[in-house]
């Protein structure tokens, strides 16, 4: 089922998907390491969440975890 031609058919999905998830993760990590204060949780927790939970981790960080500048 997972032949090479099928993979090729799904490349238009996989590439943007990968790029966006990577972009969100990097944006979140950069923000986490540049700031000391978080509304909820601590640095270790947010680094783990941002890396382990793709999309959801960074979104949760920016909506709930991000502290004030």
């Amino acid at each position: 089922m997972h032949s090479l031609s099928q993979l090729k058919e799904y490349l238009p999905f996989l590439i943007p998907l990968f790029l966006i998830q990577l972009g969100l993760m990097i944006a979140a990590l950069v923000h986490i390491f540049r700031h000391k204060n978080y509304r909820i949780g601590n640095r270790v927790l947010w680094v783990i969440l941002a890396v382990a939970l793709n999309t959801i981790g960074p979104v949760l960080y920016f909506t709930i975890g991000r502290g004030e500048d």
Binding site: M1, Y10, I20, V59, F62, T63, E68
Partner: protein, 258 residues
């Protein structure tokens, strides 16, 4: 009136900068793009995923996924996860500033409270519209790519209903944030109101008047069970409710101690 407009425009601009600074645009556009991308893909791959799982020898005969599956997957994602994202991103548009006290100075300088609320609503609706349009376009593009034939009836109207429901949620958040205290008060109050509205829809007679119907009839609209005309009353009702929410929020906000 001129002063009001000037204040409104200045505050709307400030809201946009704030949205950019707090990564709301990044989150919103990324997540809604992903919804548009994932939905047709999930619909297409579901039979493959299910048949690759070991079902203890049971043979599953799943029909080939159709364009309808792609759209119902999309509307399911948008009305469940999408609503959660909208609540999370916009849940603190007002409460944050009330708690930090950043509004005190601006209001003391003569900025109209009405302008503040209208600016917040305008900026939020524009961000929601941008995210929504991006996800709708992405979803349409990928559905055409995967399913070739992507034409279904009432697609535009169904999309419009979804968009209007988003605008209703934002108005609800605004009203709840004025009415409830604390940083999560507004968020919780609007979530509770939405859950109540969902439960009210159990009664068939309430359906036509309930904004939730806008997002529960998407699939029925697309496969022709419901006609667009069935929802006109709901659209009118929701538009009225949005206006009522905003006006009530403004009236309450004018009396609120800040």
């Amino acid at each position: 009136m001129v002063i009001f407009m000037r204040g409104f425009l200045a505050f709307t601009k400030k809201e946009f900068l704030e949205q950019l600074r707090t990564y709301k645009w990044l989150i919103f556009l990324a997540v809604f793009f992903l919804f548009g991308l994932m939905s047709p893909l999930l619909a297409k791959l579901t039979p493959d995923i299910l048949s690759s799982m070991d079902m203890g020898g049971i043979q599953l005969n799943l029909p080939e996924p159709t364009v309808m599956d792609a759209y119902s997957q999309y509307f399911k994602n948008m009305t469940q996860m999408g609503v959660v994202v909208v609540l999370l991103v916009f849940g603190s548009i007002l409460s944050n500033e009330l708690i930090k006290g950043t509004l005190v100075n601006i209001l003391a300088k003569g900025m109209s409270r009405t302008a503040v609320l209208l600016s917040k609503y305008t900026a939020a609706v524009i961000l929601w519209s941008a995210g929504f349009l991006l996800s709708a376009a992405t979803n349409y593009g990928y559905t055409v790519y995967l399913f070739k034939n992507a034409s279904v009836p009432n697609l535009m109207f169904s999309m419009f209903c979804l968009w209007l429901f988003g605008c209703f949620i934002i108005a609800l958040i605004l009203l709840s944030s004025v009415a409830a205290a604390g940083s999560f008060g507004g968020l919780i109050l609007s979530a509770v109101t939405l859950i109540i509205l969902l439960m009210v829809n159990i009664f068939p007679k309430a359906e036509k008047f309930n904004p939730v119907t806008l997002v529960s009839k998407n699939t029925a609209l697309l496969n022709g069970t419901n006609k667009a005309g069935d929802l006109y009353l709901t659209v009118a009702m929701t538009t009225t409710l949005i206006a009522v929410c905003i006006i009530t929020a403004v009236l309450l906000f004018k009396k609120k101690q800040i």
